[in-house]
């Protein structure tokens, strides 16, 4: 922060372009900005976002020493390139998408339209006076090197790609050699045209290039004993097998710890445990031994007939085995069937599948196997038993709807990938609570759990990155791939979701770039994804803190630790600026320079509430700026009309909504509050993982407060709005306003 306090000078700019001048009395808006908003400088312009308008603002910043500007024009999401003034604090009053495009046409609506615009100008000015220009986290970090955990194909690729970009990499591998599972393959499924033949894995060559790279240091036989710190300043202890510890400091981490195969001993009905029944990894070992010649079993007998059983212990809905599809196994079985056919075309190779799925360019590969005479039978295997010197596979043919039997010398079970993602932090949290409560058993379980930890994070929230589904370490594999719920730590490869080599390679490259970005942003005092580049950061007034721990517990990213006196310790580099801590804090001591309890609270109080006889209810909408607010903007863009009685305030995340805003709004005479956030639960779409869930939880507790105020609990309502819900959102608004009208005006009106 700058030491010299610069005098605050405010300015408001009212635009009359895009039809604003036709639909609104912009003169009145300017007067409101001046008189009620108390803006030192108010200017009107009929085309504010053109070069002349922008130059006018620039000149004012330059010549009039303006430090705070409110632009009353279009949505804050529009014209961001024109209205880019990094040296001042800025707010935007949304008169276009938020008013003239959504209020019904015609003179009959002139009055409510103007009232809505007036209020948005009041709100813009009110927010501005509580805002400061974000100056960036002063605790800049220095480190930009990466730690890559895991030396399989994903880890090798991440390390190599990052090093080729010019960043130093430390690669840690538990085993004595690099390569991982991919290194144990005889061939890989094709990744080049014509996608017809198995190809060399190229792992040995990649491992050699990584080992020889001047920017990469490889630690074999090593695990991670401890990870502390934050992006840009991670302190990691590497434990060698010999017991010695090496301490390293890194800027960001890529976790590419891969998977283990599902244990075929758990599949006795499919022959798991019998001789000559192997999983796909076992078959690769046989292929390695055959070295391109005829395939032989472990007992040395040549294989004349082989059966592949797909989805073995996968896509299971009985709850015994893996419920998901591992994605690569169909192509892998096709490849392995070719090992047999290529060495001896007379081998009978049958693939028993339920749904054959070959993502990528796999269809060509599938066709190639059919050309080679591999037989594909749609069916479900019921049993595999030993018979004389071979095996008997019983299955139901799903096309012919009849039982069938195949004699085989060898059976291959296509089992799934089980992620090596370490400790389940939810279980960890539970055990911690029990152990703190004195349970000796929990304490013991905890230390057992700790032994499987990969990163051994010193974070308050547990030693590994949280898991999303089925034990895979991810935060949202569609919206934010590679992002874990721990800032600066990125997962790549099958630890994140099941995948094949081609996908893992792509994944590792993406994660490496993300990790570089995180380290770079930290070094500039800026936020990482999804508010990448945001210079604001949480500022806490510790004098007021009551050590309630809500912020440390609720932070979705484990950014906040506790010191010995139980005060929160903010690790700004780990923070994603969602404001969940700000929403959680009961004493409101956490704020951002341009987003705080006051910036929003001031807007809520700035609007004019008509009296109860006016038949003009007022509804506050707190809309998540990631999904709901764009949906509302889009509704405007499509000219979808909604009630002019609502006043919308974008919030960083519903998790940042402090209940004081709700009570303030209702105390000031609003008739209702709508909270619009993202989908919560297992299939969540919240950019900050659990913001909307936390908001839902907090609001479930607000009912008592409302009853205490003599208000109906329905006056506060939550809605799940996805970014594509632009047509739906107007319906939500209109229905809710109609419901409030029926309920009658808030009894709090006139007391505010």
């Amino acid at each position: 922060m700058a030491d010299v306090k610069i005098e605050m000078k405010t300015a408001a700019y009212v635009c009359s372009g895009c039809g604003l001048g036709d639909k609104l009395d912009v003169g009145q808006l300017a007067r409101i900005a001046q008189k009620e908003g108390k803006m030192a400088l108010v200017r009107q312009h009929d085309f504010l976002c053109n070069s002349e308008g922008v130059q006018m603002i620039r000149d004012d910043i330059e010549n009039e020493a303006v430090t705070h500007i409110c632009i009353a024009a279009c949505s804050r999401r529009a014209k961001t390139e024109a209205f880019n003034f990094p040296s001042v604090a800025m707010t935007r009053a949304n008169l276009r998408e938020g008013v003239i495009w959504v209020v019904a046409e015609g003179a009959a609506h002139d009055e409510v339209r103007q009232e809505m615009a007036d209020d948005y100008v009041r709100m813009g000015c009110a927010e501005l006076k509580k805002s400061r220009m974000p100056e960036g986290n002063p605790n800049h970090t220095q480190l930009k090197n990466l730690l890559v955990v895991g030396g399989g194909i994903s880890g090798l690729t991440a390390a190599f790609e990052a090093a080729e970009t010019g960043y130093e990499v430390i690669l840690v591998e538990k085993q004595a050699q690099l390569g991982g599972w991919a290194g144990k393959l005889w061939k890989r499924a094709p990744y080049k045209t014509p996608y017809a033949e198995p190809q060399e894995t190229g792992v040995a060559a990649l491992a050699a290039r990584v080992s020889a790279h001047p920017l990469i240091t490889v630690h074999l036989n090593s695990t991670i004993a401890e990870t502390a710190g934050a992006p840009g300043r991670f302190a990691v202890k590497l434990a060698q097998e010999s017991g010695s510890i090496t301490e390293v400091a890194v800027g960001a981490i890529v976790q590419a710890t891969g998977f283990t195969t599902y244990d075929i001993a758990k599949l006795p009905e499919l022959g798991g445990g019998l001789a000559h029944v192997v999983d796909q990894a076992g078959l690769e070992a046989l292929a390695m031994a055959a070295n391109g010649g005829v395939m032989k079993r472990a007992d040395g007998r040549e294989v004349k007939s082989v059966v592949f059983l797909q989805c073995a212990g996968q896509r299971d809905d009985s709850g015994q085995h893996l419920p998901y599809c591992s994605g690569h196994c169909c192509a892998t079985s096709i490849k392995q069937a070719m090992y047999f056919k290529d060495a001896n075309p007379d081998v009978n190779a049958v693939v028993v599948y339920d749904d054959l799925r070959v993502p990528g360019m796999g269809e060509d590969f599938y066709r190639s196997a059919q050309h080679k005479g591999v037989i594909f039978a749609k069916g479900k295997a019921s049993s595999v038993t030993t018979e004389s010197n071979g095996l008997k596979v019983n299955y139901k043919d799903l096309i012919l709807d009849s039982g069938a039997t195949i004699q085989a010398d060898l059976v291959v079970l296509a089992t799934g990938q089980v992620p090596s993602s370490g400790v389940d932090v939810i279980l960890w949290d539970k055990l911690t609570k029990e152990a703190d409560g004195g349970s000796i058993e929990a304490k013991q379980q905890k230390s057992e759990l700790k032994s499987i930890s990969i990163l051994n994070l010193t974070y308050r929230q547990g030693p590994d990155v949280p898991k999303l589904k089925y034990g895979f370490a991810d935060s949202h594999f569609i919206c934010f791939p590679y992002e874990t719920q721990r800032t600066g730590i990125y997962t790549a490869g099958p630890v994140r979701r099941p995948m094949d080599i081609m996908q893992a390679t792509e994944d590792a490259t993406g994660a490496a770039l993300k990790a570089i970005q995180a380290a770079e942003n930290a070094s500039l005092g800026r936020a990482a994804h999804p508010r990448a580049g945001d210079l604001s950061y949480p500022i806490v007034r510790l004098e007021g803190c009551t050590q309630c721990k809500r912020c440390t517990v609720e932070c979705p990213f484990g950014a906040i630790d506790e010191d010995e006196r139980r005060f929160p310790v903010f690790n700004e580099q780990r923070c994603r600026r969602c404001g969940t801590c700000m929403g959680a804090c009961p004493v409101r001591v956490i704020s951002f320079e341009n987003y705080s309890v006051d910036t929003v609270g001031n807007q809520i109080k700035a609007i004019e509430i008509p009296d109860e006889f006016s038949e003009k209810p007022r509804v506050l909408i707190l809309a998540c700026e990631n999904d709901a607010y764009p949906a509302l903007d889009m509704a405007g863009l499509s000219r979808i009309v909604y009630s002019a009685f609502v006043r919308i305030i974008p919030v960083r995340c519903l998790g940042s909504v402090n209940t004081i805003w709700i009570t303030d709004a209702l105390n000031s005479g609003y008739d209702g509050v709508m909270m619009m956030g993202c989908k919560k639960g297992d299939e969540y779409q919240c950019h900050f993982v659990k913001g909307s869930e936390l908001a839902g939880y907090r609001m479930s507790k607000i009912g008592d407060t409302l009853t205490g105020m003599g208000l109906e609990p329905e006056r506060v309502s939550s809605f799940e709005v996805a970014i594509t819900d632009n047509a739906k959102v107007a319906g939500f608004i209109n229905d809710y306003v109609a419901q409030l009208v029926e309920m009658g005006p808030s009894p709090m009106k006139g007391f505010g």
């Binding site: 054959l356 599938y366 066709r367 059919q370 050309h371 005479g373 037989i375 594909f376 039978a377 749609k378 043919d397 096309i399 012919l400 069938a404």
Partner: protein, 207 residues
């Protein structure tokens, strides 16, 4: 069991897929079927037959020789080509159907009295005799294929149409005596015999 069939069984043992690949027209395509069922869903006669092309192909791969070759399914194909147009794997399904029908006919496994098969047989016999199709004799042979009584019934039911054709000079009753012929019947028959010889060799019936 016909001799050809016995020989085929001996030659291919249990590998029916290979037998189809080598002996049935376009049979080498069968293994490329991916069992999507689009052919079965596209066939306008789908509900009229015992096995859809998808099922037939799966049966071939599963080695169900007897069931495939005695099926009436491939005889029901009307050559509309919907399956060929829609097959995502570009299998010439219509041609394979005809190939299978032909092969089962040669092995004398095709269902006895199957109407399509009977019609084709009568047509062929009629054609080979003189080198030209004698429509009158062909129609009569078809009417009487199920016996004398049924033949008379068929005749009576068709008499209006027959008289109309005669009136319009599209049917000559005199064709019943000999009828018009090719100039060189012996030559035509020699040609057909040669064609069969080549075809038999190609399909592996003779060496």
């Amino acid at each position: 069991m016909s001799e050809l069939n016995q020989k085929a069984v001996a030659k291919y043992e249990n590998n029916f897929l290979r037998e189809v690949e080598e002996r049935v027209e376009d049979g080498e395509w069968v293994k490329m079927c991916m069992q999507c069922g689009v052919c079965a869903g596209s066939c306008p006669l789908g509900n009229a037959w015992e096995h859809s092309p998808q099922k037939l192909f799966r049966m071939i791969m599963a080695g169900k020789r007897e069931e495939v070759l005695t099926s009436d399914a491939m005889w029901m194909c009307t050559s509309c080509y919907s399956c060929i147009v829609r097959c995502p794997r570009k299998l010439p399904i219509t041609h394979i159907m005809h190939g299978l029908a032909h092969y089962s006919h040669r092995l004398e496994l095709a269902p006895k009295g199957q109407p399509t098969r009977e019609l084709a047989r009568i047509f062929w016999q009629n054609l080979v005799k003189t080198g030209r199709v004698n429509e009158l004799k062909f129609s009569l042979a078809v009417y009487f294929k199920d016996g004398f009584v049924q033949g008379i019934k068929n005749l009576l039911s068709m008499q209006g149409i027959a008289l109309g054709l005669v009136k319009a000079r599209r049917l000559n009753p005199m064709e019943i005596i000999g009828g018009h012929k090719c100039r060189d019947i012996g030559g035509i028959q020699k040609m057909l015999a040669k064609a069969r010889e080549i075809e038999d060799r190609r399909q592996g019936f003779t060496s």
